[in-house]
């Protein structure tokens, strides 16, 4: 997949610009705070219709403007597509179109663009709480599996209502009325997360080892529901139902649902020769950054395998915090994986080494891009 044209209207400091993006990609060079990350944020917005930096939509509108709009022309093996996203501050209206047709639900337009962002803030996926890693799983799976997206949405709806009933001290019969829906959606979420983690455990180890220069790492899904003996989604439905029953006293006391996929964890550990350490608690800065990169690489692999697209690779100044040896190995890996288009940012020309310096250059200053 590649992005051939990007049209920007009042997104952050990027003003009004129409850009023709070269097929192989581009390296965007500019000092800090000129808008490099904003550009990658705008591109990735076309995949999820949200800021990958966690910004609110309103913050993305340029000062004194009523709305922003981003449109991209995409080319892939399945043909050409035009996707656009706009957000208007008044009425908080978001509009997504695919080939000019407005999507009734934003989720219908999700994943038209296939891209992966590598950013220095990715290390928070490793150092942050379990919620950070669940969010990673939710994004990767929602974009590759429509059934997962529906299940996670239903799960969140049921959970919010069940927790409200618990918090308000409603009688048990009223709390339990949410259980069948919660369990059905939750079992689907657990089963699909677990299956994805099992399938990607080996690639994760290999990517980690390739970047770290030998040391592997493991990825395991640990559920708050005992699903060891559960082999199918039906089994998990049973196990989750039992776990809810068993925790009823505790959840009433705490006023919140204490078991379910919203309490699960993606456990990342260094392999035995590295002491089997939990990367979150004991990893060094470099080890954690390596693990974060390996997670992004399995995300890209999922897009290739499940969605059948070579993702556009967005690299947001990722080499700044990596030592030279790791950076070299990453570059080798990306070339080996036959990545498609690469759009990267760097503060200095000398930081760009992807594709043996063959990428065209753009410069950026004050949000203005010069080809």
């Amino acid at each position: 997949m590649r992005l051939s044209v990007l049209r920007l209207r009042h997104f952050r400091n990027l003003g009004v610009q129409d850009l023709d993006v070269p097929p192989e990609g581009v390296a965007i060079i500019g000092d800090n705070a000129q808008g490099k990350s904003n550009l990658l944020e705008a591109i990735y917005y076309l995949e999820t219709f949200r800021s990958f930096r966690g910004a609110r939509d309103r913050q993305l509108i340029a000062f004194d403007e009523p709305l922003f709009r981003i449109a991209g022309a995409l080319e892939s093996s399945s043909g050409k597509r035009e996707v656009s996203a706009a957000f208007q501050a008044q009425g908080k209206r978001k509009k997504v179109t695919v080939d000019g047709a407005e999507m009734d639900r934003l989720t219908d337009g999700l994943g038209q663009l296939a891209a992966v962002v590598f950013s220095p803030t990715d290390v928070e996926m490793i150092t942050g709480g379990p919620a950070e890693r669940r969010r990673f799983l939710d994004i990767v799976l929602s974009l590759s599996d429509a059934r997962y997206l529906q299940a996670i949405q239903e799960y969140r709806q049921s959970l919010a209502r069940r927790n409200a009933a618990l918090k308000a001290g409603h009688p048990s019969a009223l709390v339990r009325a949410w259980d069948p829906g919660l369990v059905r959606a939750g079992a689907c979420v657990i089963e699909r997360r677990r299956r994805w983690v099992e399938r990607m455990a080996t690639p994760f180890r290999e990517y980690h080892s390739a970047v770290a220069g030998g040391m592997g790492a493991s990825m395991r899904y640990r559920s708050s529901v005992d699903v060891e003996g559960a082999s199918s989604e039906e089994d998990i439905v049973g196990a989750f139902g039992e776990a809810l029953k068993a925790s009823h006293e505790r959840e009433v006391r705490l006023g919140t649902t204490v078991v379910g996929p919203h309490r699960d964890e993606l456990v990342l550990r260094l392999d035995e020769e590295g002491g089997g350490l939990d990367l979150r608690e004991y990893g060094s800065g470099g080890q954690r950054r390596t693990a974060a990169l390996a997670l992004r690489l399995v995300e890209a692999r999922t897009i290739r395998e499940v969605r059948g697209q070579d993702p556009v690779i967005l690299l947001d100044d990722v080499f700044a915090e990596l030592d030279a040896a790791r950076s070299e190995r990453i570059l080798h890996l990306m070339e080996r994986e036959e990545t498609g288009q690469v759009i990267l940012t760097a503060p200095k020309e000398s930081d760009v080494r992807v594709r043996r310096d063959a990428l065209p250059r753009w410069s950026i200053a004050g949000g203005r891009i010069e080809a």
């Binding site: 059934r147 529906q150 709806q157 209502r161 409200a164 019969a173 009223l174 949410w178 829906g181």
Partner: protein, 168 residues
């Protein structure tokens, strides 16, 4: 504002009339001009078959389909703890009372709440409350919309349709 003033006056009178004359049916909660609505007052309807819906306008939807010969009960909403709506805010007590007092015993209650997260929970809760009565409790089937291609139907609906399949 493009229409004649006359039309606007007629429309506003009609709206005022509506507000004055329409009230909930004393039996089922449907829209009515009298104390008891046309459906509840009709002796030709099957009063032993009660279809429970969330809102009164849903009675209209089922009536237009023309397939249902029973009577209705309007809950006036659905369980929604985030909005502070519990069983006391819904017409559940009146449903149970109605079943207790029925001259002809009610033989079946069809729970026709929506296939949303809140509609499902409301159905589960109703089932618990109805269980002590000797009455058949059924739920509207979920499945493939008539006239649609399987290819374009979402996964959850297909899964529901497969588990709810029937003999031919």
């Amino acid at each position: 504002m493009k229409g004649s003033k006359d039309e606007v006056r007629r429309l506003s009178r009609a709206l005022v009339d509506l507000a004055d004359r329409i009230r909930p049916c004393g039996v089922c909660g449907n829209f009515s001009e009298d104390d008891v609505c046309g459906i509840c007052a009709n002796p030709k309807r099957d009063h032993t078959l009660v279809c429970v819906v969330e809102e009164a306008f849903e009675v209209g939807a089922i009536e237009r389909a023309g397939h249902f010969g029973g009577v209705f009960h309007v809950l006036g909403g659905r369980l929604s703890p985030l909005d502070g709506i519990g069983p006391e805010e819904l017409n559940i007590a009146s449903l149970l009372q109605r079943i207790t007092d029925a001259a002809d015993p009610v033989r079946e209650v069809i729970v026709a709440t929506n296939a949303s997260v809140e509609g499902e929970a409301t159905a589960v809760y109703l089932e618990q409350r109805l269980r002590p009565f000797e009455v058949r409790i059924t739920r509207l089937a979920r499945g493939i919309p008539v006239g649609s291609d399987l290819e374009y139907v979402d996964g959850t609906t297909i899964a529901e349709a497969i588990s709810g399949r029937r003999e031919m």
